[in-house]
């Protein structure tokens, strides 16, 4: 049985999480005795060359659909048509925001089931099963689908695996639903704040809502300076305008794995965790002893970051100077 997989793209490049989803779908399809077929919706930047590269990640066919970019419902139209009329029972999405919207809408469109935050898929008795961590990752549940099934991966859960193959490209014309045309992208992918580089830093000092205000980042910049690292931020504080989007970690931001990740005033929601959990050493400072971040930090300090961070900066400077 063939498996459908969505690939998100922007500015002529395919999203890394989508590449992982293609590889995961290819593995599942192979276990089901079929192939993985990818779907992309967009404009002229969907060239044969770009789409063909998905073959290297396991897709044998790529559907190219002309439609608006960055919006979920046109993709639901495309994938819904394929699932309802072309015999696909399963669709796979990589981690990210748009996949959640498309996957959920698609489940409703095709009368299927949907599982999100999936960390692994497998085939049992000729059917797809999905594993999903729940309750703050304290337990893992297994989802089985009665009929059609939609799998939405957790960010970075599916690893892209590259080989030498290329995929055939097929143009698919679909009619957009009336309501799909009633949302219009005015501006996509606006970068807010300075263009900072956090990906190359060996140490990252990250700040969250617990900083209290924008000025709280000054102390973190001092600490990052003492450590020879850079400053990162959570989505909440970026949305609030306290720090640049380019420094954001997590679901709709960057994924990092520095030697040291020091989280100050960050509760550790899943959406943040998925972007930094591969860090070698995680240190957390939070005044709430029940904050989830303490469950995956190597060193946790329960206390007031306003008292601890400046002293820590001084102590590190002194240590380095000695």
């Amino acid at each position: 049985m063939n498996v459908l997989v969505y690939a998100l793209h922007n500015d002529g490049a395919i999203n890394k999480n989508s590449l992982g989803a293609v590889s995961a779908a290819a593995k599942a399809a192979s276990d089901l005795g079929g192939e993985a077929h990818a779907v992309l919706v967009g404009g002229d930047d969907l060239t044969d060359e770009l789409l063909g590269t998905l073959g290297a990640f396991g897709a044998t066919k790529v559907y190219r659909v002309k439609g608006p970019e960055g919006l979920a419902q046109p993709v639901v139209d495309a994938m819904g048509t394929l699932m309802n009329d072309h015999g696909y029972d399963y669709a796979v999405f990589g981690g990210g925001l748009l996949g959640f919207e498309i996957g959920a809408g698609l489940a409703a469109r095709v009368g299927g089931g949907v599982t999100m935050e999936v960390t692994g898929i497998a085939v049992e008795d000729g059917k797809l099963v999905a594993e999903r961590p729940i309750l703050g990752d304290s337990s893992i549940s297994t989802s089985r689908y009665k009929g059609k099934g939609i799998v939405i991966g957790r960010l970075n859960a599916f690893e892209a695996q590259e080989s030498g193959a290329t995929a055939a490209v097929e143009d698919l014309e679909i009619e957009l639903s009336d309501f799909s045309t009633r949302a219009r992208m005015v501006k996509r992918g606006e970068q807010r704040g300075a263009d900072v580089n956090i990906e190359d830093a060996k140490s990252l000092v990250a700040g969250g809502r617990g900083l209290g205000n924008k000025e709280g980042f000054e102390a973190l910049e001092d600490l990052a300076g003492a450590l020879g690292g850079a400053v990162a931020a959570t989505r909440a504080v970026v949305d609030a305008g306290w720090y640049p989007y380019a420094a954001q970690i997590g679901q709709t931001g960057k994924t990092v794995a520095p030697k040291l990740y020091l989280a100050a005033g960050i509760s550790g929601a899943i959406q943040h965790k998925v972007g930094m959990q591969a860090s070698e050493n995680i240190v957390a400072i939070n005044k709430d002893a029940n904050a989830p971040i303490f469950e995956f930090s190597d060193l946790g300090i329960v206390g007031d970051l306003n008292k601890i961070v400046p002293k820590l900066t001084e102590a590190i400077k002194a240590k380095k100077g000695s």
Binding site: R144, K146, K148, R188, I301
Partner: protein, 263 residues
């Protein structure tokens, strides 16, 4: 304009969440709070109403859940909703996301709102998907995780953060919008509003009353079976320091970092 706000009762953050091993479902016995994300949706509705750009006739809170979920509706009304609708039926128990979205869409269809608002996620299920399911059934445009929403006659201009930065999207009404917590700072209800909440109209509907197809809801009507709960791979617990003497705490942190050659 009529605004419906979808709300949900969730476990109090202080209550440990668990799965009932017998049923494989979330044990909801400790629940007693309005989902914190939903308070942002109610506040967004209130700001549209108070903004005065488009006259708002009514804000209606809608929930699906057991008898206790009435408390979430009372809270929603105390925060500004004019009345509420409670979809409650033992037959709904065990509904998955798709079935829940179908059921809520059925209630919303009866109300024919111009705008449906909801919080970007529930505090318990950790999913951000119900809005997209509801929108599909209602055949309305939809956007999730919206952090800025400007309303005009017949359209909304919404901003949200997606994979590549901030998107600005124009959406025609009627529409389903899920809001992020950065969209506003919810107000606290006044004592008078809390006292008066129980007096506001509350309609209770069962599956038949809402005109729903009983074969599409509940565990039977759901398309996903969840089970076989297992523990994740054990991770060695980290060291925890309770900061009492900050100088001593800082010495400990520095020693820890130094041991790992991180300084």
């Amino acid at each position: 304009m009529k605004i419906c706000v979808l709300v949900k009762e969730v476990p109090d953050a202080a209550v440990e969440k668990r799965i009932d091993p017998q049923t494989g479902r979330m044990d909801r016995s400790g629940e007693r709070n309005l989902n914190p994300y939903d308070t942002h949706a109610i506040e967004a509705a209130m700001q549209v109403k108070e903004g005065g750009v488009v006259p708002v006739e009514e804000i209606v809170a809608v929930t699906m859940g057991p008898d206790t979920a009435v408390r979430a509706l009372h809270k929603a009304v105390s925060l500004g909703a004019d009345r509420s609708v409670h979809l409650s039926d033992p037959a709904l128990s065990g509904s998955d996301v798709a079935a829940t979205g179908y059921a809520l869409a059925g209630v919303l269809e009866r109300e024919s709102p111009d705008l449906v608002l909801l919080g970007q996620q529930s505090d318990d299920g950790e999913c951000y998907t119900i809005g997209a399911v509801v929108a599909e059934h209602l055949r309305m445009p939809s956007l999730t995780q919206v952090i800025k929403m400007d309303v005009a006659e017949g359209t909304l201009t919404c901003e949200r953060q997606a994979e590549y930065g901030y998107d600005t999207v124009e959406v025609d009404l009627p529409a389903v919008i899920s809001v992020g917590d950065a969209i506003n700072e919810p107000r606290y209800p006044s004592l008078k509003a809390i006292m008066g909440a129980k007096k506001k109209p509350l309609e209770t509907l069962d599956v038949a009353g809402a005109g729903l197809d009983a074969t599409r809801v509940g565990a039977e009507g759901s398309q996903v079976d969840c089970g076989e709960f297992k523990a994740p791979p054990a991770k060695a617990g980290g060291t925890i320091i309770e900061d009492e003497d900050t100088s001593a705490t800082v010495d400990q942190i520095v020693a820890w970092l130094d041991e790992r050659k991180l300084i």
